[in-house]
C-alpha cells in the first residue's frame, strides 16, 4: 500500500476521523473526579497544626504501611521520654552523615556541647600568680601552661579567662595563632619493651611449659 503517493496522508486523516468519534479522555473536573486506585498513597507530607506544631506523633503507622519501605523516620516518643527510630539498618555511609541523621530525627554528635574534662589547676594557679594575672603576658602564660600539661586543655583556658578577665575568644585566638600551641594532647607513641613486659612474658612461658610437661626452666 505504501507505494501509492499520498496514502499516508489519507490514512492519517482516517485516524483523526476515528479519534473524532471515540469517547473522550477528559475528566470534567471539578464535576467529576479521577478514579483513584486503592493502593495509591498520595504525596507523603508532614502536617502542622494551627499552633505550628508538627502533627506527627511518631506512631510509625506510615512507615509500617509503606509498601516499598522507603520511610526512615525517628523522633521522641509521645511521652517525651526517649528517642525512637524506624528504618533500615545503616548500611551506607551517607546514612551516618550529619544531614542524614538530622533528617531522620536521630541525635547528632556535637563536640561544642560535650562536657570538657577537668584538670588539676594547682600548677596553673602558680603560673598565673607568677605573671600577676596579667592578660598582657598571655603568650608566656599559655606557653608555660602547655609546658605543664603537655597541651592546652579547655578547662585551663576557661580558668585563665576567668581569673585574668580576658575573653575566652581572645585567649583561644591567641592560642590558635601560634603553631607551637596545641589543643589536643600529642599522639601517644608506643612505649619500648620494658622490664615489666619481659617479666610477664617469662611467667607466661613458664606456665605454658608447665602445662605441656616440660622441666622447670628447661627448654
Amino acid at each position: 500500500m505504501s507505494f501509492i503517493p499520498g496514502i499516508g496522508l489519507v490514512r492519517g486523516m482516517g485516524l483523526t476521523l476515528r479519534r473524532f468519534f471515540q469517547p473522550k479522555a477528559t475528566i470534567m473536573w471539578p464535576e467529576q473526579h479521577a478514579d483513584v486506585a486503592p493502593k495509591f498513597r498520595g504525596r507523603l507530607q508532614l502536617l502542622y497544626d494551627e499552633y505550628g506544631t508538627l502533627k506527627c506523633e511518631t506512631c510509625f503507622q506510615c512507615a509500617q504501611a509503606c509498601p516499598i519501605e522507603c520511610i526512615d523516620m525517628g523522633g521522641v516518643d509521645t511521652k517525651g521520654r526517649f528517642h525512637v527510630h524506624w528504618g533500615a539498618p545503616e548500611t551506607y555511609g551517607e546514612r551516618r552523615e550529619e544531614s542524614a541523621l538530622r533528617r531522620s530525627g536521630r541525635p547528632v554528635a556535637d563536640k561544642a556541647y560535650a562536657p570538657f574534662e577537668g584538670i588539676d589547676i594547682e600548677p596553673l594557679d602558680g603560673i598565673l600568680e607568677a605573671h600577676d594575672y596579667d592578660p598582657r603576658e598571655m603568650l608566656a602564660i599559655l606557653e608555660e601552661t602547655q609546658a605543664e600539661y603537655g597541651y592546652l586543655p579547655v578547662a585551663a583556658l576557661k580558668h585563665i579567662s576567668r581569673v585574668t578577665g580576658a575573653w575566652y575568644a581572645q585567649i583561644y585566638g591567641t592560642a590558635s595563632y601560634y603553631r607551637h600551641l596545641r589543643f589536643e594532647p600529642p599522639a601517644v607513641e608506643a612505649p619500648a619493651a620494658g622490664t615489666a613486659q619481659i617479666a610477664a612474658e617469662a611467667s607466661f612461658r613458664s606456665a605454658l611449659d608447665a602445662s605441656l610437661g616440660y622441666g622447670g626452666g628447661a627448654n
Partner: protein, 465 residues
Amino acid sequence: MSSISRSLSHVTLAGRILIPLLFLLIVVAPILTVALAVVVGPWLVSVLSSNLGIIRFVVAITGVLLFSIPAAFIIIYMELKVIAYMNLRVGPNRVGPGGAAHSLVAGLKVLSKEDFSPANADRLVFTWAPVLVFLTAVMTFLVIPFGPGLVGQDLNIGLLYLFAVGGMAVVGLLLAGWSSFNKYSLLGGLRAAAQMVSYEIPLTLSVVGLILLAGTMSLHGIAEQQGGWFGNWFVFRQPLGALIFFIAATAEANRTPFDLTEADSEIVAGFATEYSGMRFGFLFFAEYVNVFIVSALMVTLFFGAWNSPLDINMAMLFLNDELGWNLQPIVVNLDPGGLGIGLLLLILIVPVALTVVFALPFYLTRSKLKAWQALLLGFALFNVVAVGAAFTLAFIGWDWVAGIIWFFIKSFAFVFVFVWMRGTFPRVRIDHLMGFAWKWLLPAALLNLFLTATAIVVVDALKAG
C-alpha cells in the same frame, strides 16, 4: 453655578462629551427624522430608486461585512472544538451552551487588550496593514454567490476580481511585517509574501481549465452551469484542477500543513509578532474569514455551488422520460395573501391551539407538572415545530432558501475538512513548500490546462465532423 453645570462637573471627560451628544440624539434626531420624512422624503426615494445599482452595492457590502464576523466566530469555535475532539479532548465547554460563546469571549478579550505599537514603528502603516488584510478577505465575499441571484455584485470577471483582491492580501502582510520595526517581523512578512505569491500561480492556473469549460468568469454563471444532479459538478470534469486548487487554496489561506506564515508553535506569528489588541484581532479574523472564503470558492467552482446534489423535480422528469412513469413534481405555492381574512385568524388561533395541543400530553402524563409549566413546554415545542415547518416550506418553496442552505452545508463541510487537516498534518518545511509549488503544482496545473484545451478542441471537432 447652575445645578446642571455642577452635576456635569462630576462627570468624567468622556461623559461630558457623551451626555450632550445623547441630549442631541434624543431631541434633535426625531425632529430631523420627521423633517426628512416630510420634506426630503419623496426626493430621497426618487434619488435612491434611480441609483438602485449603487444602493444594491452598498447593501451588499454592508451585509458581507456583517456576515464575515459570525462566520469567523463559528469557524474559530469549530476549530477549537473539532481539533479537541480529534485529540480525545472535550474542548471549550464553559461559556455558553457547549462553549459556543467561547470565540465571542475571545473576541471581546482581544478588544479589551492594550493596543501597543512598538517604538519607531511606522504608525500609519502599522495601523492600516491589518485593516487591509481584513478588507481583502471581506471584499472577496462580494462576488461569491450564496444562492440563485443572491450575489453581492455579479461581476462578469468575478474570478479575476477574486484573484486580484486576494493578491492584495500579500501587500497587507508585507506592510505589516515592514512597519513593525522588527527584523524578524520583516522576515516573516517576506516569507508570507513568498509563499502566497508562489501559490497564487498554480491557484490561478488551476481554474483556467474550468473557465475554458464554463465559458464565463462570473461565479454566478459558473454556479448555474452545475445545476441538476451532482454529475454536472465541475469536480468530475476537472478532478486534477480541483485537487490543485484545493492544495493551493490551503496554502493561500495559510492553513496547515502550509501555515508557515503563522507557525504559531515555531516562529512567533511571523509578521504579526509586534501586533496586539484589535490590530492583531484583525489579522486573526482575516485568517478565519479566508478559510470560509476558500471553502466557499471550492464549493462554488467545483462542488455545485448552491445546487443540491440531486434535484428531485429534475430526477422525476428524467424518470418519467426514461421509464414512462408519471411522477408529479412537488410544487409549493406559497401565497399567504390568498387566504384573506382567514390568514389573520390563522395567525391568531394556530399558535394558541398548537401550544395547548402540545402541552396536553405532558400535562396528562405527568401529574407533578403544573399547568403553566406544561404550557411553557408546549410553547417551546410549538416554536421548534413552527420554525422547522417554516424552514421546510421555505426550503421547498423558495429556490434561494434551499440554495443558501445547501451552500452553507457544503461550505462548512469544507471548513471541516480544513480543520480536520489541521488536526492531522504536520507542518511542511519552507524549502519543501516552495519546491512543491514550483516543481509539482505549477507543471500539474499547466498539464491540466493543456489536457482541458485539447479535450475541448477534440470534442468540438467530433461534434462538427
